[in-house]
Symmetry: C3
Subunit: 360 residues, 3 copies
């Protein structure tokens, strides 16, 4: 399998250092449920693509059947699962184990901690230790970049921007003036942070631009996807709360406030001044009106269009969005609309007959 | 308030020069309805965030209750509003006044009028006076850039592009060959103007690319949002009419013609060869089919999908889009679908009984 | 016409070399149905914009009426069409002819086959002959670029990327580490290939990032639109099959597999691990759930939301998407919902009367 892949796909070529099963158990703080501690493991792979010298993983009961069919040499499973008759390491938290295995077998490359000679740094900038700036990266004036933060090739950072520690700002990101970014923030290529909000007012028959002189604050541990846009506020702050994760091609308009630990999937759009509660989840292509309020823990279905405020924990679907509990019954009725129309037509005829009979 | 902000948010740090209320009245051509002309105002802020030495503003009657609660030292209001018992400046046009106050207290930074040494300019380019090119900006050959236009860092401009006067092309914009851009146009980071239209024809079982050799014309006073894409025409012109404003992540396909003063909100998509009338408004995530015609002043709701031509001034909603007047009644019926189904079932039973009775 | 255009639109200025009708017939392998072989043709244009010395084209019967009205000097038509009483060239394959005419009259500019002095090339890169790198283009280490491939200004290519022959990677594209790209691939400005997939798991009350260490493979003859994003896989491969064409602002999530010859229109979103069959067509703003399977040749309507697997050749519409055959009847019933409600109310009243009568 590894050979096949190396022919075709450069991205999967790597030189996996082997680990023994007991070494893995130690690294993962795992129990060896079954299997020889000396078993040599050469790579980490999904159930589907694992070869006979790879270790794979199972996250839940549903995947056990697929595990039984997998060619993998061994499996990592969470309590209380097992893959019968196969070498198995059992761990407390499966995703911690998966991340550790990726580190051991397939470490993701990181941007180097050096300032490329072609990078440009404006006056009065403050770059912390172990900072990295890629080729042609451009920092304006008065920018501060925290320890360990890396900024990729061809990215631009405007005057007065503050970026915290251990951030990864990938290639081709544009961060405009005075934006504030916390620690451990990841921003993917093509994202634009701090462009003007979309505010035009009708004055004398034309759209007058209202200058956007607020800013954007991205709190700690936020991730922002490729080509996503987060606009600066009119006068105040557009804020992305700590630990919130945003996918690609998402629009966050001016003055939006997103709480902590929210999840916004690809192509979601949040209109101006809306407030999203902690831990809410918006599935792909969902949209939220301006000045709406989404409760904490609310879940908005893919392509839903939120028009009114959404209570905490509510599950909403459709355009305009309403509770999923009502929606599923309505959907059934909707699809039976032609049938219902026929039934009503029949009723009308039968009733007509009865009425005629009565008139007799 | 200012202190709190400066700790947390770099973007809101500024050193506001104070103005007396009578100086502001003069600058805004306002009447002092109430308040001491000597009152010192230190900043301009929204009703919500204004501190006790700030001036704030009211745009309509609905905001008056909030104004009464605001800590602001003074208010600007349009005719005929008032904020009782508080210092008030009254003006003719509130948004003109707001823009003036932003200029006075919080001027937005502008790109400098200088050509950065790292900018590259191709042969036979014509740069007007007071032109600015940011770090690593790249102009191809035969590009003309009008007086006062600024092009941001890392932007690229293809051969033969013409850009008018006083434009702001922000960092990371890509304008491809031969595109024409008018005066006072604003283009935000990541926008791509003049990429190939999406035209493939089925030839011998494969998609054959049909070269896109038309162009794009962006007329005066247009604004184009971050990461928005405007494709070049097949043979003719994709045109954005004067004064039209386009938000982030919008798709304008090849050969589209948008009239004057239209408003396209975020994530709107306009398919090939469609024609949008003057002053139409498309809310977020709305889509328009290819070869459709949207009338002047039409309003398309968020997430609506326009399939057929839309008359002037129509208000459309839903997918496929239809008039809002019909839609709201249909939505009510839609949501009562399960109830209606029950009512029909009851009718069927009652009718059955009656029919049985008659047979007796 | 040409003069009018040259005043207004730089993009349509060109110096068309004239061709005689018989020269064109030879170049297109066309039959002269009618017209003088000596007729001088100065340009190629659409029916609508053609002037009296231009040749235009007709692709199907529906366009014949417009052709009759066109000012064009001559027409190219496919078998068995004709434009009566006008000079006509008839060809076997109209789109081949159109492409040939564009080459002859309006050749699209290509990026030059030279490495700009400002381009940066990392160590151990392998650039084929006739390779072009635009100003400020950045290649990482161990990148291979095939013969004839051109990479535009300000694009960045990560370590270990392999790009085939005769590709056009336009300005401002970002290709991340280890991605593999085939031959004759076109990627438009602002596209991001190989950013991290969106995978976060809930661990101890927080979203834990699961590193994305797979890759992306773009096969031969693929085209990818401006500002489109294709994420790298978690452990395996995100794959775009040969000959597939993707429009602007499309999201392709991690581990997605798209077959050959598919067509994804603008703003489409494909969620993680979904599989799209050969030749399927997704219209604008359509969305596909994660882990879904779209059959070969399936057609998904604009704004449709695919929730379940779609069989080969199926035509789907709506959210959640279902077959167009059922959908159109349901839509009719849907829009008559208010009327049906009235009819049921009437039935209830009439039945009540009857029941009362019976009780008498």
């Amino acid at each position: 399998m590894a050979d096949e892949r190396s022919v075709e796909v450069s991205g999967l070529e790597h030189d996996p250092k082997g680990w023994r099963l007991d070494e893995l158990a130690l690294a993962l703080e795992a129990t060896i449920l079954r299997g020889d501690g000396d078993l040599e493991i050469l790579d980490f792979a999904t159930l589907e693509s694992a070869g006979s010298s790879d270790i794979s993983f199972v996250t839940d009961r549903k995947a056990l059947a697929q595990a039984a069919e997998s060619r993998a040499a061994a499996f990592v499973v969470p309590e209380p699962l097992d893959v019968p008759d196969r070498p198995v390491l059992r761990v407390g938290e499966i995703w911690e184990a998966v991340c550790r295995l990726i580190e051991m077998f397939r470490p993701a490359p990181t941007m180097p901690a050096r300032v490329d000679p072609s990078a440009q740094v404006g006056h009065s900038c403050d770059l912390g230790p172990e900072t990295g700036l890629g080729p042609n990266a451009v920092l304006g004036a008065n920018v501060s970049v925290g320890r360990g933060t890396r900024i990729g090739a061809a990215s631009t950072v405007g005057d007065g921007v503050r970026i915290g520690e251990d951030c990864a700002i990938h290639a081709g990101v544009h961060i405009l003036h005075n934006v504030t970014i916390g620690d451990r923030v990841v921003i993917h290529s093509g994202a634009v942070i701090g462009a003007d909000g979309f505010k035009f007012e009708r004055v004398e028959g034309r759209w007058k631009k209202i200058p956007q002189v607020g800013t954007v604050v991205i709190e700690d541990d936020v991730e922002i996807g490729a080509n996503t846009t987060v606009d600066r506020a009119f006068l105040d702050v557009t804020r992305i709360g700590a630990g919130t994760k945003i996918d690609n091609l998402v629009q966050v308009a001016h003055n939006v406030e997103i709480g902590r630990g929210a999840l916004l999937c690809a192509q979601v759009g949040i209109s101006g001044s809306s407030i999203l509660g902690d831990g809410c989840v918006l599935a792909g292509q969902a949209g939220v009106r301006d000045n709406a309020r989404i409760g904490a823990g609310a879940q908005i279905a893919a392509q839903a269009g939120v028009k009114d405020d959404v209570p905490d924990g509510a599950q909403m679907v459709g355009t305009p969005a309403w509770p999923i509990s009502e929606w599923s019954r309505v959907l059934v009725a909707h699809r039976k609309g032609p049938e219902l129309t026929k039934r009503v037509r029949k009723l009308e005829k039968r009733l007509e007959k009865l009425e005629e009979g009565r008139d007799d």
